[in-house]
Structures are given as structure tokens and as C-alpha cells.
Symmetry: C2
């Protein structure tokens, strides 16, 4: 893994041994997460809003109502996009060495508006089919009005840093025989029993990326 940050502001300062700057690691974390937080400024004031995202190639995409304040602000100033996945609880013999296993990404840059209708259509299809393979073609087709009302933005993943902790407990040597359990408790997101709409009974539940 290349350990050179793409820019000064992406360089991981705390615990740099957890840093990854290669495109494959960044892309894999973006793909594994569904929600990112987009931070930006309006009149010098910081806002941060969680939103669903997806990836195509070297870009992270978000969407929203075209008239939204966030979408407007994002094309006018620099943004910072954050993704974090909690993968495990790390329990050590001392409070100090308790930790988490996680995968995170921080992306810096400027969003650009995607306005070409064909590009928007293809992207929204990729978004839906990424969550539910093959679903787009089974849906009531999107209308021009809907497509037009949807704002689509993307940001390049080229100025990004990933940070990953995926190992066991790091206790101080002198604490190793302290009589308490130490280890990692993995965490994961699972899908529960689907709740079918009353007027949709009899249709087949589609597969999702959560199985």
C-alpha cells in the first residue's frame, strides 16, 4: 500500500500506521458504506449532513432535491466527505487500550453538478441496482419530471485518505496477565425480516447487498 498522502490536508497525523492512500482501499470502503457525512460551509459556518452515497469509478455520488441548500452550497465551496464503518469492539486489560476496529475515509474536494440527463439516468440506475441488483428494470419507469427534480452531485476520490484498524488487542506488556477478558467483538450490519406493504403481498422480495 502506498503511504504517501495525495495532499497535505489528507495526511493522517494521528496513528499514521493506520493510513491508506491507495485508490483500491478508498473505493472498497466507499462501497462498503451506504451513508456518508458531507461537511461544507455556508457564510463561514460549518454544516455537516449525513446522506446516502454510491460510487462510480473514481467518484462518490450523492443526490437530493435540486432546490436544497446543501446541493447549492456544495457547488460553491470546498467540502469534506467522511465515511466510517464500525467493525469491532476492542477490549483491552486497561481502559487506555480499549479501541475499535473500523474503516474510515475522508475525502476533500469540490463537488460538481451532474446535469446531462443521460448521465443522471445511468447514475440513478447504478445507485438503485447497486443496492438491489436488477431492480431498476422492474420499477415504474422514471419520468422526465422526476429526473429533472433530482439533483446529482459527484466528488472525485483522488484527494482521499483511508484509516483502518483491523487487528487485535495491543495491551502494555506488563498488563497481559491482568485477569480480565481481552479480545475483539466483531460488529456487522444485517438485514431483518422484510416488512411487505399490505398492497404488495405476493410479490417477491428482492435481494439486497445485505443478503
Amino acid at each position: 500500500m502506498p503511504q504517501s498522502a495525495p495532499s497535505p490536508r489528507t495526511r493522517v497525523r494521528r496513528l499514521p500506521e493506520r493510513a491508506h492512500y491507495d485508490a483500491a482501499t478508498v473505493a472498497a470502503i466507499v462501497d462498503a458504506a451506504m451513508i456518508c457525512t458531507v461537511a461544507f460551509q455556508i457564510d463561514g459556518m460549518v454544516h455537516a449532513i449525513p446522506t446516502i452515497h454510491w460510487r462510480e469509478g473514481n467518484h462518490l455520488y450523492i443526490h437530493g432535491a435540486k432546490a436544497s441548500r446543501m446541493l447549492k452550497a456544495l457547488t460553491e465551496s470546498e467540502a469534506c466527505v467522511t465515511i466510517a464503518l464500525a467493525d469491532g469492539l476492542v477490549l483491552a486489560r486497561s481502559a487506555m487500550h480499549h479501541s475499535m476496529n473500523y474503516r474510515s475515509v475522508v475525502i476533500y474536494g469540490r463537488f460538481e453538478l451532474v446535469t446531462d440527463p443521460a448521465h443522471k439516468l445511468a447514475s440513478l440506475r447504478a445507485f438503485i441496482d447497486g443496492l438491489y441488483p436488477g431492480r431498476w428494470d422492474t420499477l415504474r419507469p422514471i419520468t422526465d419530471k422526476e429526473l429533472n427534480a433530482t439533483g446529482l452531485l459527484r466528488i472525485a476520490l483522488s484527494e482521499a485518505a483511508a484509516k483502518v484498524r483491523d487487528w487485535g488487542v495491543k495491551d502494555d506488556a506488563e498488563d497481559l496477565d491482568w485477569p480480565v477478558w481481552a479480545g475483539v467483538i466483531p460488529l456487522r450490519t444485517v438485514a431483518g425480516e422484510p416488512l411487505t406493504e399490505a398492497d404488495s403481498v405476493g410479490q417477491t422480495v428482492p435481494p439486497t447487498r445485505f443478503g
Copy 2:
């Protein structure tokens, strides 16, 4: 639920029917999440960093190395803290009405440094015991040096807005008989099989908030 925002910048503008401004709703979402994203500025540039948090009373707490850039910057400028929990995938008959069930909180304000050692000690205990009930007393006791190296910050939850979607599919009336499954697929985080450190075999795995 009171529907009046505590300040102009907390007023939910998109889909205000999902907004909650009461302390109980905000606190419950803060408690249900483990990771928040803290957005702030350094020299006019926006940064956003995910970090673990906990709550005591009307404050959200975070911790980190005292020397960290983030902890320094947070006491010097306004911050925006974001929490988002994905509770379910909402599958409609049209792409447009696909959605998510979620709980989110956005908090504005200024962090304050907690420096009183007794307060710090009590807070770190609350943090550990909040994740693993009763664990603090079983650990190798924290040292003054460790306590001193740990930076502790808190932000009041008084300027906060929650946003919640927790209902079924809202399709257009004319799409209700479109022949595709519609419903909600719940998502939740679960704990997997604990991975015991080799030198900790025989100790009892503690309970966590994930069961």
C-alpha cells in the same frame, strides 16, 4: 414533539415533517450511535473526522490524544456534530420513492475542554461502562499519566436537531398496482462471535450493548 428549532441553523429545511427538536429524541439517538462525525474549520478549511462518542446528561463527549490537531481546533471554533443510523431500506414501486429509514442528529456549538481530573475520570468510566456494563472496575486501574494524556471534550446538546424516518413506503397512488415488491427491509447492527486474545483464554467475555 415540539416542532420549534432551538436556533435558525438547526431548523430542518428539507422534509421538515421528519424533524424533532426535543431533548429526549436527540438523547436517544446519541445513545443509540457509537460513532459521530465532528466537522470544524482550521484556517477556513472544513475538516470532518469520525470519532467515538458517549453522552452524559445534556452533553456529548469525545476523547482523543491531548496533542491532536482536532482537539485543539475544536476549542477554538464552532463545530457541527453529525450522527446517522441506518434503520431500514425502503423499496418503492418507483425509483423516486425509494428511501431509507434512519435516525440522525445534527448538533451545533462549541466544544469545551474538560480538565478537572475527577470529572475526566468519572467520564471515562461512564464511557467504558456505557459500552460494557461494570467493566471499569475489572480493568487494570488507569494511571495519572494516562488520564493526563487523554483529552476530553464535550458539547452541549441544546442546539440540536434530530431527523427521523420510521415509516413504510410512500408511493404515488397511481403506482400502487405496479407489479413489484414494495416494503421495508430493516437493518441492524449485531455482535459476532468474540475473538479472544490467545493469552486471555479462560476469562469471561463481558456483555456489550449489542448483546
